[in-house]
């Protein structure tokens, strides 16, 4: 048994493929690439693929991470090319590396995630910067999600406004992504008074316990 860690993108049409469907898709891709996927025991054997952190529907990502267990060792150098040849446009393997098989489960190792938020409706940069500063200055931001009160503020690790030389204004944020403490970009946007539907969100990095 060997365990490999794969970093990949999820973009374009694939933004609308949910977490469970992505599992299925990856399993098929592995089968097409003839990787010796390891399966669980039992009545309904499941492939041993685990994805670090579910990406919300509609989000793009430049840096998704998964662990996959294989029955035999394979050449990791040509693995990205082998998988990419059989992945739908929008999914692309960037990196494959060997992981200690006894290392803790990937999901338990995620600390936070960084997002870029592009705005499709014009905004006044200075006004947005003011609102961001205000939000970062306060200590508590009580909100409610699915009828449960929680504090958004401690989940925001970083939030900044970027102004391009072209004049385009966008947001960058790093939010906690620990089990039981996950900040959601759309909640931050909502708190800033930006309509979620007018944005394009891309996850750019997952930060792990090193």
């Amino acid at each position: 048994m060997t365990r490999i860690r794969i970093t990949f993108t999820k973009q374009g049409a694939l933004r609308y493929t949910g977490h469970l469907d992505l599992h299925r898709l990856l399993e098929r891709a592995a089968r097409r690439a003839e990787l010796p996927l390891a399966y669980s025991q039992g009545f309904h054997p499941q492939p041993k693929i685990s994805i670090a952190a579910a990406l919300p529907l509609g989000f793009a990502s430049r840096a998704e991470v998964l662990d996959m267990k294989l029955e035999q060792e394979i050449d990791l150098n040509d693995l990205p090319a082998r998988l990419n040849a059989t992945l739908p446009t929008g999914l692309q393997v960037l990196k494959a590396e060997l992981v200690d098989e006894r290392a803790p489960a990937l999901q338990t190792q995620v600390l936070s995630a960084t997002y870029e938020v592009r705005l499709t409706e014009p905004v006044i940069g200075a006004e947005l910067t003011r609102r961001v500063k205000e939000m970062m200055a306060i200590e508590s931001l009580p909100r409610e999600r699915r009828n449960k009160p929680y504090d958004l503020r401690p989940l925001i690790e970083m939030l900044s406004v970027v102004t391009e030389s072209s004049g385009e204004v966008w947001l960058r944020m790093t939010l906690a992504a620990r089990e039981g403490a996950t900040g959601r970009p759309e909640e931050v946007l909502n708190a800033l008074g930006i309509e979620f539907e007018t944005t394009k969100i891309e996850r750019t990095k997952l930060i792990f316990i090193s």
Binding site: A13, T17, D21, R24, P45, P88
Partner: protein
């Protein structure tokens, strides 16, 4: 017209508000995205139900591949948006678009709609409307795409005559090429000659193009035919209005099945059938009298075991799917079925693959076949006795004895399957409550006998559908059961099975069957009923969410028609049917003879054993002569080649009433 970029931008704003947005974005592996500008003919293939159902349709997949193999054409796909998406599309003025290029459907040259069953009719209208294309054929002009339709239900195209420009009757593999070529020739000529092309013709450009299409064998252009009616409401005649369109349109077939598609679309979301399907055989020789497919897909043509295996392997490699379905109307009748399953079993053993072999005969050999295909016996085993009394089985020409059923099911349980599914139909001609009672008795016996060999854990699922008489079958003359009869039969079964929690009964709602029944043997006047029903909100008629029985009843009333005329009426023996000018090459006289034999309780054996002269051979004699031997299961045609250079179209076709 919106550009693809504009459509995509609008989509990004609404997609997170609908269920399963992955239905609407394309981008699947094995979909073909060709350059829009370099294709001379752009074809949109539409399955008028949701993506989840349509994407695995094999018929459209065949056409998709064939068209995309041409350098001068492209094919893209579209499906019916679900209620939530349709509402948002209409609100945001997003026209229906094709998944590959996101081009609006209205920008295509040709739209091909698959109509395998009648409950898709309102959706087909809705799709045209969502595309901004006039729903009625006569309201469209040269700027609109040509709308064609095909599929099993179009063996009686008449209820949809007002909405479809041209129907492809029969198999589409070759016909689609002819249609595309004709459109290309016409457009080239039109460019060259401009309006002078129509100097001698009173036709506008669109009508002239359809006129050209009507000359292709198997193409039916309804606007060139007129129906007249007798005082009793039945059809008097359906006649061509032009001298050079065929009086009778004979279905198109391919002599030899072309290589099966292997690059199946791999959806990025979960759908109904995540599988590779390989058609092992087309047609059926069993002659079950209720079976539309069995009558209209003759003759039998098989693929070789090698070809099936190669295709299955290539398709599994191209898709990574976890399921393989070997499709045919009657797997047991495939000549080398034992060799096929043995080799499939060996080849794919231990690959976490589920293999489906549908429509097996009720005999122990079937169990041997299934055993070779299964890694574990956890799944169910499906058999379709259809009826439970000897009398009924003789009437429908599907003869299996109770003893065979008991013996086979007992053996299935004994060998380790824990669930068996038995399919029955109620509403067969002359069926009584006793015949239905027999279904209950037989099922109980199956379970009882099974328990003797496999204990108490075994289960039986009983699926009971309602028979709907179809055009072009021996039962096209019969009346349907009334809703009261159907409900009485269903409650009898529900009562019988309610106490045994190991028997699970499923049935089709009586009202759903009626919609199918009106439309399957309907005439041209039903086009207005469909239109009115659709205008009043009918769509997704096969779905619980779309059920609008009262809307349909109102729409019959509004158009002065009686639904019972179409369903609960025994047809006169000399009745001219609304589909009299369309033939599946199985003669009306043959069907009538078979119907008479049914009334006498006479069985007809498998026609591989004895040719009953259904009409296929005389119609396609030249084709058969050119393709002798095992390719077809019909007898060889040995008579010398006729001098006539034209094959099928010039041959004597079955005449009305012959």
């Amino acid at each position: 017209m919106l550009t693809p970029e504009q459509i995509e931008n609008k989509l990004d704003r609404i997609l997170l508000r609908v269920q399963k947005p992955g239905r609407y974005v394309g981008g699947e592996l094995n979909s073909t995205v060709k350059s829009w500008d370099s294709a001379r003919t752009r074809v949109a293939l539409v399955f008028p139900d949701i993506y989840d159902i349509g994407v695995s349709n094999v018929g459209l997949k065949i056409l998709y591949d064939l068209i995309n193999q041409r350098d001068d054409a492209l094919a893209e796909r579209a499906y019916a948006p679900w209620f939530d998406m349709e509402e948002l599309m209409r609100q945001n003025e997003i026209p229906l678009y094709a998944l590959e290029s996101k081009q609006p459907l209205a920008c295509f040259d040709l739209i091909g709609i698959s109509l395998p069953y009648e409950t898709l009719y309102t959706n087909a209208l809705n799709i045209l409307d969502l595309s901004g294309i006039p729903v009625r054929s006569l309201d469209r002009d040269e700027s609109h795409p040509v709308i064609i339709a095909g599929g099993h239900s179009t063996m009686n195209p008449e209820p949809m005559y007002a909405f479809i420009d041209a129907f492809v009757i029969g198999e589409g593999e070759e016909a689609i090429q002819d249609v595309i070529n004709t459109i290309q020739d016409f457009k080239a000529k039109r460019k060259e000659e401009g309006n002078t092309l129509f100097h001698l013709s009173s036709f506008d450009a669109r009508t002239e193009l359809l006129h050209q299409l009507s000359k292709i064998q198997g193409i039916y252009v309804p606007r060139f035919y007129e129906a007249s009616y007798l005082d009793d409401g039945t059809v008097a005649a359906i006649e061509p209005t032009l001298p050079d369109v065929p009086k009778i349109v004979t279905k198109r077939i391919v002599a030899v099945l072309p290589p099966p598609p292997t690059k199946f679309i791999v959806p990025n979301i979960d759908i109904v059938h995540n599988r590779v399907s390989v058609e092992i055989m087309r047609g059926c020789t069993r002659g079950c009298r209720f079976c539309h497919a069995g009558m209209i897909t003759r003759p039998i043509r098989e693929r070789s075991v090698d070809e099936v295996l190669e295709a299955a392997e290539a398709a599994l490699k191209a898709t990574g799917f976890e399921e393989l379905a070997l499709l045919s109307l009657s797997s047991s009748d495939y000549t080398n079925v034992l060799e096929l399953v043995t080799r499939v079993g060996e080849k794919f053993a231990g690959k976490h693959l589920k293999i489906g072999l549908p429509s097996l005969r009720i005999e122990s050999v079937s169990i041997d076949l299934m055993e070779k295909l299964k890694d574990s016996r956890s799944g169910g085993f499906t058999l379709a006795p259809e009826a439970a009394t000897e009398r009924m089985r003789r009437i429908i020409n599907k003869y299996i004895s109770d003893d065979d059923i008991i013996e086979t099911t007992r053996e299935i349980y004994r060998r380790g399957w824990t669930t068996i599914k038995l399919y029955f139909m109620i509403g067969h001609p002359s069926e009584t409550l006793e015949d239905v009672q027999a279904i209950a008795e037989l099922c109980k016996r199956v379970l009882l006998e099974g328990r003797k060999v496999a204990g108490m854990r075994i289960k039986l699922n009983v699926g009971v559908s309602t028979f709907v008489p179809k055009s072009q079958t021996p039962f096209q003359w019969v009346s349907c059961d009334t809703p009261e009869q159907i409900k009485a039969k269903q409650s009898l079964l529900k009562r019988e099975f309610i106490r045994d929690k190991n028997i699970k009964l499923s049935w089709t709602d009586a009202e759903d069957s009626f919609l199918e029944a009106w439309l399957s043997r309907g005439d041209r006047r039903l086009a207005e009923v469909i239109y009115t029903a659709w205008m009043n909100g009918a769509k997704f008629d096969a779905w619980f969410e779309g059920r609008k029985y009262q809307t349909w009843m109102d729409s019959f009333a509004e158009n002065g028609l009686d639904p019972l005329f179409y369903t609960h009426r025994q047809r006169r023996t000399d009745e001219v049917f609304p589909w009299e000018h369309i033939t599946a090459a199985v003669r009306k006289s043959f069907l009538f003879q078979d119907f008479r034999q049914s009334l006498e309780g006479k069985i007809r054996v498998d026609c591989r054993l004895d040719c009953f002269a259904c009409g296929i051979l005389p119609t396609f004699a030249n084709m058969r002569r050119d393709n002798p031997g095992d390719v077809w299961k019909c007898p060889d045609v040995k008579s010398p080649q006729s001098n006539n250079p034209l094959s099928v179209s010039s041959m004597k076709l079955p005449m009305v009433g012959d």
